[in-house]
């Protein structure tokens, strides 16, 4: 019996397995392997968690392609056919299709708890304090607060931190937040999710305050964040949007757990201290 079944049973099992594999859905995702709080290859980022929620809703397994999110990221990953989805990117990014935004965050001031709070780019204290900002690099543009400071003639007391940093270290952009704790700068102006996450992890935890005005001349300080897909992938776009809408509470809880400062309709759920 056992031996009689052997060949046919294996064949049957293989058939069943191939049917299961063939029908098992795969969600191919491109992400940065070393950029918390967004993502890393240990799946510790909030984008990793949100992708899991979406994959659960789509009954799909997640297959990652890891790629540092630098110049050429979109071209080398999504556009090169390595994946179907980039979980976190700015809404309206050129050359791709983006979903309905699922949260909006803001640039923030990051200060030590004992320091005076700064709420505005027009705060006269910014002319005296040592301010840290991220340097984007070689395309002639920097983060909007850097342009806002430059416009106000605040430059002598501004310290630049490469957004790229030393990629051999964990989460290179986090150096800017750590510099506040270390006293290397009096205040950092950083993108909210990075500041919220790493600010909460400093001892003592840092104060995170949204930048005002929210639009400084041509430079917005708040950005809607969406997922990116290929323009022709309209059906997946709608599925992802539906999944986020359906699991909205879980998505919000994840963003909240990561201390993402939000300036959207859900902000009351998630504003950090």
């Amino acid at each position: 019996m056992r031996s009689g079944c052997r060949k046919s049973c294996i064949a049957w099992l293989l058939l069943v397995a191939s049917v299961i594999v063939g029908h098992a859905r795969e969600l191919r995702v491109c992400s940065d392997p070393n950029n918390l709080p967004f993502s890393n290859d240990r799946l510790e980022g909030y984008e990793n968690k949100i992708v899991d929620v979406i994959a659960g809703e789509l009954r799909a397994s997640v297959q990652y392609t890891w790629w540092p999110q630098r110049r050429g990221f979109v071209r080398n990953t999504l556009k090169a056919g390595l994946c179907d989805l980039i979980p976190g990117t700015v809404s309206g990014l050129g050359a791709v299709r983006t979903t309905v935004p699922y949260y909006r965050s803001t640039y923030v001031f990051v200060t030590r708890p004992e320091a005076e709070e700064i709420t505005s780019l027009d705060d006269p204290k910014l002319r005296k304090l040592l301010i840290g900002v991220h340097l984007i690099g070689d395309d002639g543009f920097n983060v909007p607060p850097a342009h806002a400071l430059a416009r106000r003639g605040i430059i002598e007391n501004v310290l630049g931190f490469s957004i790229y940093g030393d990629y051999r270290q964990d989460n290179p952009p986090a150096r800017l937040i750590e510099a506040v704790t270390a006293g290397k700068v009096d205040v950092a102006i950083a993108w909210g999710p990075l500041a919220g996450y790493f600010g909460a992890r400093q001892d003592p935890s840092l104060r995170v305050t949204p930048v005002n005005p929210i639009r400084d001349e041509r430079f917005p300080m708040t950005f809607p964040i969406a997922m990116a897909l290929l323009p022709e992938n309209g059906s997946l776009k709608h599925e992802v949007e539906d999944a986020i809408a359906k699991r909205r509470t879980e998505v919000d809880a994840i963003l909240s757990a990561f201390h993402v400062p939000r300036v959207d309709a859900f902000s009351r759920l998630a504003m950090p201290r």
Binding site: N35, P68, R70, H134, D139, G140, F141, I155, G160, I163
Partner: protein, 596 residues
């Protein structure tokens, strides 16, 4: 100099003066002394002619040129430097990490004598706008002077390779880097900064050649006292007259990060004791934020070489909106103009015009286009003002197509040569146009921001580059060679009536100085964006040398591994250079050629 070499130099200079027509423009003798077979500064001489009286290599035998020796710089980034040759030694400075090499030309194969490693801060790589280039060193009085990307000026003993002094000038935390080659004038080393993309404030400093201590510093923006404008300042045009124009032609405080960096070339007239140099474009890039002429950016200063006090200024591009750095080479010539002998300077400018200025006064004698341009309508010689075509200015919330020339201009930093045998300036340049779109949302390393969308492309004719011979006295083009890619190398002219330049595909070419006929070409390992030189080796024979290794702003697609499909990378230049990756790869090799 040995006695025999002195004789050779004297004879060649005599031959030179006997055979050239007296009516052709000539560099002032004090600024371009007799040939000694050496190449001690990137521009060859203070007049910046990049002309050598050596004539062993001529139009008849250039076809026989062959490789004499090669040397790897060990750095596969854009090689923009000119090698130097002094005595029996060749000096080469590499891109970041800016290693200085000395090669022994008296030995077979020119082995390395020593190398000096300045170890610049690694972070400076991320600050440099357009590849981590260095444009060369300068020799003076037993020392090699050069600058590092992280903003240090360094003096090294030319025989031992030991550091003599090092002065930190720039702050990379503020986006300040240094990429230019210094010029040594008498006992001073002149150095300027780079980094206009980051809104730094431009300056030129004079350092004491002996100690490296700062003697004077002239800013390109701000109050007169910072710019070293005093009673001696007598600009030719009314638009440059007035108090503190470096402040009042800007919105409040905008001059503080106004750009006007000094990353190009300096010339020197010993008779007038004046230095001449250009200032880069104004910052920040968004011109709506800085109404006004934005003095003293995108123009040229004449300054007293001892005190730095400004004598005159002329602005090529007031209120620049195109990123047209006014830093190109300045060729000093004495020439007849409308029946009068004039001391002039010639400048092939980023905006596409070849300017001839009276170098004692700053008056524009002529400004004729050497490349296709539609964004301006020439220069009003009464006011000296560039005439803008409003239809071809980048606008907020609007796409403007076919703006010619592009941000790198009709011609970028890479220097021309002038032959006193032909009266022609040999101009390596671009032929490109661009579309500028409104700001785009962008996202990098988890961080959103906005940027301009600039796309560059070939200009009329479909060729992106050109090598033109310009008749300076008659202000017209004599001949030109079309090149597929922008010509991003320098040029050298010789008394043998052979002119040399390189292409981004890697061809090193010798052309007939009178006709532009290609006499010889050699395919080097990588694209050429360096400055060729020629010298007399210890064996008494003429050599031609050039660094091969593509990169720079135009070649960053190869040296920086940029994605050809990301058309907006490297300020939009990548869009026009996507196919460069198909024809060349990174490199960093010196080639020296001679006749068999």
């Amino acid at each position: 100099m040995s006695f025999s070499r002195l004789i050779v130099a004297l004879v060649s200079s005599l031959v030179g003066s006997a055979s050239s027509q007296p009516s052709l423009p000539r560099a002032p003798q004090t600024a371009a002394p007799n040939e000694n077979g050496e190449w001690a500064m990137p521009a060859k001489n203070f007049a910046s002619t990049r002309f050598s009286s050596l004539d062993e290599i001529n139009v008849d035998n250039a076809k026989n040129l062959q490789v004499a020796f090669t040397f790897s710089t060990g750095v596969n980034k854009g090689q923009e430097a000119a090698p130097l040759v002094v005595g029996n030694t060749m000096y080469i400075v590499s891109p970041y990490p800016n290693i200085l090499y000395a090669l022994d030309l008296s030995q077979a194969g020119a082995p390395m004598k020593w190398k000096y490693e300045p170890k610049p801060e690694p972070a400076s790589q991320g600050v440099a706008c357009c590849d981590v280039v260095n444009r060369g060193a300068a020799y003076s009085n037993g020392r090699i002077y050069f600058n590092t990307l992280d903003g240090n000026a360094i003096a090294v003993d030319a025989s031992t390779g030991k550091e003599v002094w090092r002065t930190k000038l720039g702050d990379i935390n503020r986006g300040e880097t240094v990429t230019m080659a210094p010029l040594v004038v008498k006992d001073k080393v002149l150095v300027g900064n780079s980094g206009g993309e980051y809104g730094v404030r431009g300056w030129l400093v004079a350092l004491d050649a002996g100690t490296g201590r700062q003697v004077w510093k002239a800013y390109s923006t701000g109050p007169d006292r910072d710019v070293l404008i005093g009673p001696e300042f007598k600009p030719y045009y009314d638009s440059d007259k007035g108090k503190d124009l470096g402040v009042s032609t800007w919105p409040p405080n905008a001059w503080e990060q106004g750009g006007g960096t000094v990353w190009g070339w300096i010339s020197y007239d010993p008779d007038l004791n004046l230095i001449y140099y250009g200032t880069a474009n104004p910052g920040p890039w968004n011109h709506e934020q800085r109404p006004g002429d934005n003095k003293w950016t995108a123009g040229i200063f004449a300054r007293d070489a001892d005190t730095g006090q400004a004598r005159w200024f002329y602005q090529f591009t007031p209120h620049d909106v195109h990123d047209w750095d006014g830093i190109n080479e300045i060729i000093l010539l004495d020439m007849e103009w409308k029946g009068q002998q004039r001391k002039v300077l010639a400048r092939p400018e980023r905006n596409g015009y070849l300017y001839v200025l009276d170098r004692t006064t700053g008056e524009v004698l002529s400004a004729e286009p050497f490349a296709y341009t539609n964004s301006t309508h020439g220069v009003d010689l009464k006011t000296g003002r560039l005439q803008i075509n409003p239809e071809k200015q980048p606008k907020l919330n609007q796409t403007v197509r076919d703006i010619c020339p592009t941000a790198p201009g009709a011609k970028d930093w890479n220097p021309s040569a002038y032959s006193e045998r032909t009266g022609l300036i040999y101009i390596p340049h671009n032929n490109m146009c661009m579309d500028v779109q409104t700001m785009d949302a962008n996202y990098i390393a988890g961080t959103p921001y906005v940027g301009a969308n600039v796309k560059m492309k070939a200009g009329p004719g479909g060729n992106r580059g050109e090598f033109s011979a310009w008749d300076v006295q008659n202000a017209r083009k004599r001949w030109s060679i079309k090149e597929n890619f922008p010509v991003w190398s320098g040029a050298v002219a010789t008394a043998g009536n052979v002119v040399f330049y390189g292409t981004m595909e890697g061809w090193f070419k010798a052309v007939n100085a009178e006709t532009g006929d290609v006499l010889w070409q050699f395919k080097t390992a990588s694209g050429i964006i360096g400055q060729p030189i020629t010298y007399k080796g210890p064996d008494g024979h003429q050599y031609v040398a050039v660094l091969s290794g593509v990169g720079g702003w135009s070649g960053a697609i190869v040296s920086g591994d940029l994605d050809p499909r990301d058309g907006t990378a490297a300020l939009g230049f990548v869009n026009a250079m996507a196919d460069l990756k198909d024809v060349t790869t990174k490199g960093g090799t010196l080639y020296a050629f001679r006749l068999p």
